[in-house]
């Protein structure tokens, strides 16, 4: 196995997690035209959620994803009523500021409780070794979990009535209301799902690397890059774009110092924003 291939496989694996993180952001943005700046802190809360649950109950960390997704959903409902419901029809500046304010508060509370010292979730699955390269079990499990969750979301959006309602509101809110769909409830559920996705991606990351309450910010930035690359509206598109980003990182890193990668990503981000506002897969926001 060559170094470049190993690197790209690693990139593919972590890219699935980037994609999962971005799906939450993309869903919320696509459905209610709100750019959720609490995204990073919700990812971080997912990390700590996994840490706390795993410290309390020493079972397979991946089984703990279920309570974390449920918890993320509930948290999303709280944040919706705190900061999002009132900005849905207002200027984007207001929604940016409102969600950003909540973000600051969550980070502040998180710092007060957990400080900024690094935490770890000490759970490992055995990896797969091919030649000289080993792909750690946690990375593989995280990628599989990300894909499974994405498929579940796709099923929900396209095979259930609730999912259809969300898509309807996302396409045309007034028409949906005329059809008798309670848009407030739909928006709330969509937002909560978005947060649950963010929290689950955080939970997966916690099994891979050490983290603090501030670690979510990096994934939030990557989520923006992925969401903009993918365009809005299609969660699977976000997953694919995340994998693409991971592959790009893996393909580039054998050739240049790893510390140049953020520059490439953000250069790409700004260029895509300017020249490809609709992204590669989906549609731009209304």
């Amino acid at each position: 196995m060559s170094g470049i291939l190993a690197s790209m496989i690693d990139g593919l694996l972590i890219g699935s997690v980037y994609g999962l993180a971005a799906m939450g952001l993309s869903l919320i943005w696509g459905v209610m035209d709100v750019i959720n700046l609490t995204h990073g802190s919700m990812i971080a809360l997912g990390m700590f959620g996994m840490y706390l649950l795993f410290s309390a109950i020493a079972v397979n960390a991946y089984a703990l994803l279920i309570p974390i997704i449920a918890g993320g959903f509930v948290l999303g409902i709280v944040v919706y009523w705190l900061a999002v419901n009132w900005v849905v029809d207002r200027s984007q500046l207001m929604s940016l500021l409102s969600t950003f304010a909540v973000n600051m508060m969550v980070i502040g509370i998180g710092t007060a409780i957990w400080s900024t010292s690094p935490y770890n979730v000490n759970f490992s699955l055995p990896g797969i070794t091919v030649g000289e390269y080993t792909f750690t079990g946690n990375h593989i499990a995280a990628a599989i979990s990300a894909v499974l969750i994405a498929l579940l979301l796709e099923l929900f959006l396209y095979r259930t009535r609730a999912g259809k309602a969300i898509r309807a509101v996302s396409d045309n809110r007034e028409a949906a209301e005329l059809m008798g769909i309670s848009s407030t409830r739909v928006l709330m559920v969509a937002f909560a799902i978005g947060i649950a996705l963010a929290a689950s991606s955080g939970a997966l990351v916690s099994t891979l690397f050490p983290f603090t309450i501030l670690s979510g910010a990096g994934y939030q930035l990557k989520s923006f890059v992925v969401t903009v690359l993918a365009g809005l509206g299609k969660p699977l598109g976000a997953l694919a774009a995340g994998v693409l980003l991971g592959l790009l990182e893996g393909a580039v890193s054998p050739f240049i110092a790893v510390s140049w990668i953020p520059l490439i990503e953000f250069g790409l981000f700004v260029i895509v924003l300017i020249f490809f506002p609709r992204g590669i897969f989906g549609r731009a926001s209304a």
Binding site: G3, S115, T116, E132, Y133, S253, P254, V258
Partner: protein, 402 residues
């Protein structure tokens, strides 16, 4: 008669009082209680604290007919250099610190040094091995740690004896300390005839070493040198183990010296750390406690063996105390003179500061050991001194058991 007696008594007590009038001296420093440096910084703080308690129990520092109780003005810098600037300014201006100790780590110390030099206060630096800070034209800095250049050159000397043709990889934190260690080490490696197969610095606060590890494997290196501090060093070791990288020798900076290192389990074994001090060292102390007494007192108070950060902290206190005694008081100019003239061996080793203007305060008396984590007879992981050969407590295990 009675009146005479009373007056005599009064005179006697007032004389006694002035002879041993109790003063206090305030020492200012920050501790990284939170943030990435918290593990190492706390160990340094414990060294300071143990020294202070020992001195105060004995009645304080005795100089010029007075005795000075030591009190600390200390804050949490959160491993953040901006906080360091604000807090050192505060300690000097508002807490009226007489002397300063450095924060932990070369980069935070470089920041603090700017403030202490601006206000012309003496600062003893510990937990800071980078040399550049002392070459910027200072007048009141004094370095306790042996300089960064020595850290990995010692490891390369040890490697030369085992495998003179090894392929070496340098993976290190892009921060002042590790860069100051690795830059001369790379040149020395080439000088000794090693093949430098790979070298890359990672951004501070990196948590994901996957891409770097893949590159190390691709380079076919069998020796890895580098790291930074506890957080990144421990993560790197863990991930190297998880990726089953076929390394025969791993030497990481700082992190493996902490007693917490054993928490890594199997990933901890075999890792070498360049060290400023180990409990097995046998220096004859001209001043202060012996190594064994220091170790005993530390373990009794903190339920853990001292790391070299703690030793450095305690030694800083000792050296300052000695200088104040020599100076007969706490006047900055006199104490600076006394520090410049210091050439003393304590449990920590020999301490002597350079007095050349181009590198004032650089440590020129102290040297580096190498310690390695090995299983003792009971199967427990312990640190053994493996270099220099003259003072070793066990042989260097090469290749490391993986």
């Amino acid at each position: 008669m009675k009146r005479m007696f009373l007056i005599a008594l009064l005179l006697f007590f007032s004389l006694a009082a002035t002879a041993f009038s109790q003063q206090t001296i305030t020492l200012g420093f920050t501790v990284s209680r939170t943030g990435a440096l918290n593990v190492d910084s706390l160990e340094q703080y414990r060294g300071f604290e143990l020294w202070r308690d020992t001195v105060n129990v004995a009645g304080g520092i005795k100089a010029g007919g007075k005795s000075y109780k030591v009190q600390f003005a200390s804050y949490d810098d959160e491993s953040n250099s901006k906080r360091v600037q604000q807090l050192y300014t505060r300690m000097i201006l508002e807490d009226k610190a007489d002397f300063l100790f450095s924060p932990y780590s070369s980069s935070l110390t470089a920041t603090a040094a700017i403030v202490t030099e601006q206000y012309e206060k003496i600062m003893l630096t510990t937990g800071a091995a980078e040399e550049k800070t002392y070459k910027l034209g200072n007048q009141h800095l004094y370095q306790m740690f042996a300089p960064a250049t020595q850290y990995l050159t010692a490891a390369l000397d040890a490697l030369k004896a085992k495998d003179p043709k090894a392929a070496v990889a340098f993976v290190y934190e892009d921060a002042s300390f590790s860069v100051a260690v690795v830059t001369p080490a790379k040149a020395y490696a080439q000088q000794l005839g090693f093949n430098v197969a790979f070298s890359e610095a990672y951004a501070p606060n990196t948590a994901d070493f996957g891409a770097l590890i893949d590159k190390v494997i691709a380079s076919k290196a069998t020796v890895l040198l580098g790291g930074g501090h506890y957080a990144d060093g421990s993560t790197l070791a863990r991930q190297l183990y998880g990726h089953k990288v076929p390394l025969k020798m791993i030497a990481l900076l700082v992190a493996p010296d902490s007693p917490q290192w054993s928490e890594l389990g199997d990933a901890a074994l075999g890792v070498i750390v360049p060290s400023q001090w180990e409990p097995q060292s046998t220096f004859k102390a001209q001043y202060g406690p012996s190594g064994a007494d220091f170790g005993k007192a530390y373990t009794a108070k903190y339920n853990a063996p001292p790391s070299y950060e703690s030793a450095g902290g305690y030694a800083s206190g000792l050296i300052l105390q000695h200088a104040i005694e020599q100076a007969g008081g706490i006047d900055t100019a006199k104490v600076a003179e006394a520090l410049n003239a210091t050439d003393l061996t304590t449990f920590y080793g020999r301490t002597k500061f350079s007095t050349q203007a181009s590198e004032h305060g650089l440590q020129v008396g102290h040297t580096i050991f190498l310690a390695q984590w090995q299983k003792d007879k009971a199967g427990q992981p312990v640190k053994q001194v493996v270099w220099p050969l003259a003072g070793k407590s066990a042989d260097l295990a090469y290749p490391i058991p993986r």
